[in-house]
């Protein structure tokens, strides 16, 4: 007989997959993007320092680039904030679908 416990069980079963496919995927991608940004920034800074030592880059230009990198970090943070909101929207849409599917699965 269809009852609320069946409904609850169906939702709980689907929830783990849904979290993995929305919030979990977002977390993995965000971590990967953050690591890439840090690696790139380190490489860029080393290159700029060498150019500064070799007089290819003035101190003023070096400072301009550093400030640009800080602004880029802000733009990347906005990317992550937006990506988190997308993940929540996807989770919400998936959760609604899960509720519907679980409820409709109880209808004989």
């Amino acid at each position: 007989m269809a009852d609320f416990d069946d409904f609850k069980q169906a939702v709980q079963t689907g929830l783990a997959d849904l979290i993995g496919n929305t919030i979990g995927d977002y977390a993995d991608s965000a971590q990967s993007r953050a690591n890439d940004f840090l690696d790139d920034s380190r490489g860029d800074l080393e290159k700029w320092l060498k150019q500064l030592r070799d007089d290819e880059l003035s101190a003023d230009d070096f400072e301009f680039l550093l400030k640009g990198k800080a602004e880029l970090a802000h733009i990347n943070a906005l990317l992550e904030l937006g990506a988190a909101k997308v993940a929540v929207d996807k989770f919400r849409a998936g959760f609604i679908q899960l509720l519907k599917d679980s409820a409709l699965g109880l209808v004989p």
């Binding site: 007989m1 269809a2 009852d3 609320f4 409904f7 993007r33 790139d40 860029d44 290159k47 700029w48 150019q51 290819e56 880059l57 003035s58 230009d61 301009f64 680039l65 400030k67 640009g68 990198k69 800080a70 602004e71 880029l72 802000h74 733009i75 990347n76 906005l78 990317l79 904030l81 937006g82 990506a83 909101k85 997308v86 929540v88 929207d89 996807k90 919400r92 849409a93 959760f95 609604i96 509720l99 519907k100 409820a103 109880l106």
Partner: protein, 150 residues
């Protein structure tokens, strides 16, 4: 007493109906962020190569490229106005705002610097193109690409 045996089933379906109603109300709530927008995507992907190409000319006299810079920055301003007018699009709008800021250190700041100094050094030009302004455009494009397509 047949009607009494039917009661638990009715209660169960009533609960399900309530949950479905709640879920529909949930769906009706607006999204946290704007969906993918083709025009926004095209603005970012077309302005990136245009901006980087013009930045590459910054080792030459600004005066001979002033009209091109004005034309480019006008397009950037139009892109910003477009994305800022979309509902729930604050993150993308703020990204463009930082990129175009003439007092900043990305595209807008680069053009201001070029104008002030007349011409810029090759190392600064290449580093700004590859390490700051280019990746800034990439981040704007990446956020648009991540958004839900409707």
């Amino acid at each position: 007493m047949k009607h009494l045996s039917v009661l638990p089933v009715m209660r169960s379906f009533a609960r399900t109906a309530v949950l479905l109603s709640l879920s529909l109300m949930f769906v009706a709530c607006s999204s946290l962020i704007a969906p993918y927008n083709e025009t926004s995507y095209r603005y970012a992907t077309s302005l990136k190569p245009e901006a980087l190409m013009l930045m590459g000319r910054a080792t030459e006299e600004y005066a001979s490229h002033a009209a091109e810079v004005d034309a480019l920055m006008l397009k950037v301003e139009q892109a910003y106005e477009y994305v800022a007018g979309l509902p729930n699009n604050e993150e993308t709008a703020r990204q463009w705002e930082i990129l175009k800021d003439p007092d900043g250190h990305l595209l807008g700041g680069f053009m201001s610097r070029w104008k002030d100094k007349g011409k810029l050094g090759a190392a600064l030009v290449e580093n700004a193109r590859e390490d700051t302004v280019g990746p800034a455009f990439d981040a704007i494009i990446a956020l648009e690409t991540l958004k839900i397509k409707q």
